[in-house]
């Protein structure tokens, strides 16, 4: 019963971690996941979120075993 949280690029550097593992509880949104993992840091509006590698909104409700990824705007190509 857990959720894996991943961070990339500048966000990974500013948080100082690339990964967290949280206990799963029902009805957690992506915002809740962020608050649990980073209680002292506000979730900046330009941060993108993917659950299981698909983009979602902050109010998306996560399931057990989901991988939630937070990252800055993408800059490939």
């Amino acid at each position: 019963m857990s959720i894996k949280v991943r961070y990339f690029a500048s966000l990974k550097e500013s948080i100082g971690r690339s990964e967290d593992t949280l206990s799963f509880t029902p009805l957690l949104t992506v915002s809740d996941v962020w608050k649990l993992a980073n209680p002292t840091i506000a979730l900046s509006e330009n941060i993108l979120v993917a659950v299981n590698m698909d983009y979602v909104n902050y109010d998306f409700i996560v399931s057990d075993d989901d991988i939630v990824a937070f990252f800055p705007p993408v800059t490939g190509g």
Binding site: F8, A50, A69, V74, G76, G77
Partner: protein, 150 residues
């Protein structure tokens, strides 16, 4: 339809030719080929850049690019598509991304190539960190739209 994420420098023209030779079934059908190559410049926002590191989210990159290619094939009549994107350390003048589209007619080739590039730039989870000539580093903060000249 081929998609490659690679860590080594590549020659886009060799890759295209190799791909064409490997797909003789397309011969005779192709009337239009549109190719986009994004290359690393040695200058960005008025600062000299000596290299960059491209981070990505393995798995999600492929999933997002696959979606984009499927969407392009649904919207236009395409014969084949090849996408190659570098990750890791990149030096000035090296290609970062190649998108090649083969179709019967030019409208499809142009539209699909541009669509894929814009979608890649806004959805594929890549992040560039520039290594400046003064030895500072900086993350590129966002991609601008390609539909208006910057």
């Amino acid at each position: 339809m081929t998609l490659k994420i690679i860590t080594q420098a590549f020659d886009p023209y060799q890759e295209i030719q190799r791909y064409q030779h490997a797909h003789p079934e397309n011969l005779g059908h192709i009337g239009a080929t549109n190719i986009f190559i994004g290359t690393m410049r040695d200058f960005n926002e008025n600062v000299a850049v000596k290299g960059m590191t491209l981070e990505h989210y393995p798995g999600m990159t492929e999933k997002q690019l696959d979606n984009i290619v499927v969407e392009a094939h649904a919207q236009w009549q395409l014969i084949d598509t090849l996408i190659i994107h570098r990750v890791g350390t990149i030096l000035p003048n090296e290609p970062i991304v190649l998108v090649a589209i083969w179709s019967s007619h030019r409208g499809d080739a142009f539209d699909a190539c541009r669509y894929i590039m814009e979608a890649l730039k806004s959805k594929a989870p890549f992040w560039k960190k520039e290594h400046l000539s003064n030895n500072d580093e900086r993350w590129v903060t966002h991609n601008s739209t390609g539909y208006k000249t910057p």
